[in-house]
């Protein structure tokens, strides 16, 4: 009951998922879309578990005055403020007036957007430091990686004169020939791996995710 029935459900829904792909009829399509709705709705309900986890971890930190506990107050404040504004000061639960709330939008535009964009832009630095740290001619493979990256990075360098032309053409070739071959091989391999993993789940060979007892 605790483990057998769920495994049976996985099998049934998995087989349906496979079979529906080959049935274009409206009935199968309706069922497919309905099941996608399930996934979506279950996911939203689960968010409550996530928020509960976030709150408990933060509250634990504050209660036991663990290292950096002060910042957990910031997290909780941000969380509750956003929920408070998002329901338009707890006035509008069943219409989306809260999405237009001034504070809700301001928090989104001036806290979430700048921080996320800045986090993203840290990549400019990390891509440089990763290149410095890792592009060493340690072995044949590392050298291939290094040379191919260097050619691509030099492709539009204007100080190279006529070598630049060759760089540009080599870069184009690298992107269109070996890069394509590498990608295609990985895509096919990944496809087979995905199908194998899915089948393992459907057949109940992989069942760790259902827990024990």
């Amino acid at each position: 009951m605790k483990r057998q029935l769920p495994l049976f459900l996985v099998l049934i829904f998995g087989l349906f998922g496979i079979v529906q792909y080959f049935i274009p009829h409206e009935k199968s399509e309706w069922m497919y879309e309905f099941l996608l709705d399930w996934i979506y709705i279950i996911g939203i309900f689960a968010l409550a578990l996530g928020i509960w986890s976030l709150m408990r971890v933060s509250w634990d930190k504050i209660k036991h005055k663990r290292q950096n506990w002060q910042y957990s107050i910031v997290t909780l404040t941000g969380l509750f403020a956003m929920i408070f504004f998002g329901f338009n000061y707890f006035r509008d639960f069943f219409n989306s007036a809260g999405l237009q709330n001034y504070m809700f939008r301001a928090f989104f535009d001036h806290i979430m957007i700048p921080i996320q964009a800045t986090m993203f832009s840290l990549l400019a630095f990390f891509i440089a430091s990763a290149a410095y740290r890792a592009f060493r001619a340690r072995s044949l493979l590392a050298t291939l990686l290094l040379i191919s990256a260097l050619i691509i990075m030099l492709r539009f360098n204007p100080y190279l004169g006529f070598i630049g032309d060759y760089m540009e053409r080599t870069a184009l070739w690298l992107l269109n020939v070996p890069n394509l071959a590498a990608k295609r091989a990985i895509i096919i391999g990944v496809g087979l791996g995905m199908v194998a993993t899915s089948l393992k789940v459907i057949l109940g060979i992989e069942r760790a995710y259902l827990g024990k007892d």
Binding site: Y132, F156, N157, N176
Partner: protein, 287 residues
């Protein structure tokens, strides 16, 4: 710890510092960098340069705001060159989110044409460019393939009036301008499959000279058309735009962007080289 070991294991914060410095400096200080000109971009520039005063060119602004960073510099540079040479321009957009953006671009360009400027040693006095005399903006219509075909018969079919609502027949510039036959060339700036339609339905059927401006990612796919002569020029991404700005002697956002990119790339490459020198030398010492 000798110098080579140190070269090998620099604190990464030095890398960060140099990248930040180079980006900020090249962003703030607009010095010029050499830009290698490729044939396919130069072809477009020379084509327009050879046209005579009063000739008409046709520009398709067929991208939406998210491809703006790469394609706007091209449209700006070409339109400005055309206006300086007193060519007349027909603008059209076949992208749903294009009209407002194209309208804004036309205003920007007309503002900058008002200033006196010298391009490639030729002095051009500032002048006011007028809607209906120097340019026409036709606006947007859905079904790009049909619009392209329809314009081959008569511009008035898909666009009885322009973007601002003036009937085409009462626009002075459109007098006697029926279809592509009166247009010297079509240059399409595209971030999608509209370029394919211009090639097959436009150039393929009405045989006008066609050039393309594309995003960097798409550019590589269109070189075969250049070899087969279906298009006479192609500009790809920021790199192509910068080349055009350079040719037209009209430095703008593309050259600015390239300056930052080139130097940031050089810094990264230098760090890679430093690391490798350190690595190779210290390995030799050990071995």
């Amino acid at each position: 710890m000798n110098i080579f070991d140190r070269m090998m294991s620099l604190d990464r914060r030095w890398v960060f510092l140099f990248i930040a410095l180079v980006c900020v400096i090249t962003y703030v200080w607009p010095f010029s960098i050499p830009i290698r000109i490729t044939e396919e971009v130069k072809a477009i520039y020379s084509f327009i340069e050879k046209l005579n005063e009063g000739d008409i060119i046709f520009l398709g602004i067929d991208y939406d705001p998210n491809a703006l960073a790469e394609l706007h510099p091209m449209s700006y540079a070409i339109a400005e060159q055309a206006f300086r040479k007193k060519l007349r321009v027909i603008f059209v957009t076949l992208s749903q989110n294009g009209p407002g953006m194209a309208d804004q671009a036309i205003r920007d360009i007309s503002d900058s044409v008002k200033l006196d400027k010298t391009y490639n040693g030729v002095f051009y006095p500032g002048r006011e460019i007028k809607n209906g005399i120097d340019y026409v903006f036709l606006g947007y219509k859905p079904y790009p393939a049909l619009v392209i075909l329809g314009m081959g018969q008569n511009f008035r079919i898909p666009f009885p009036s322009d973007y601002y609502g003036t009937p085409l027949d009462s626009i002075p510039m459109m007098k006697g301008v029926m279809n592509y036959d009166q247009v010297k060339c079509v240059i399409d700036f595209a971030a999608g499959n509209v370029a394919d339609m211009w090639i097959s339905y436009g150039q393929g059927r009405y045989n006008f000279p066609l050039a393309l401006g594309m995003t960097g990612v798409m550019g590589a796919d269109y070189y075969p058309y250049l070899n087969s002569g279906q298009i006479f020029g192609i500009m790809g991404g920021l790199l192509g735009a910068a080349q055009y700005e350079k040719l037209a002697d009209n430095p703008g956002p593309a050259i600015d962007g390239m300056r930052i990119q080139v130097y940031a790339h050089i810094v990264i490459i230098l760090f890679i080289i430093i690391g490798n020198i350190g690595f190779l030398v210290s390995r030799r010492k050990q071995g």
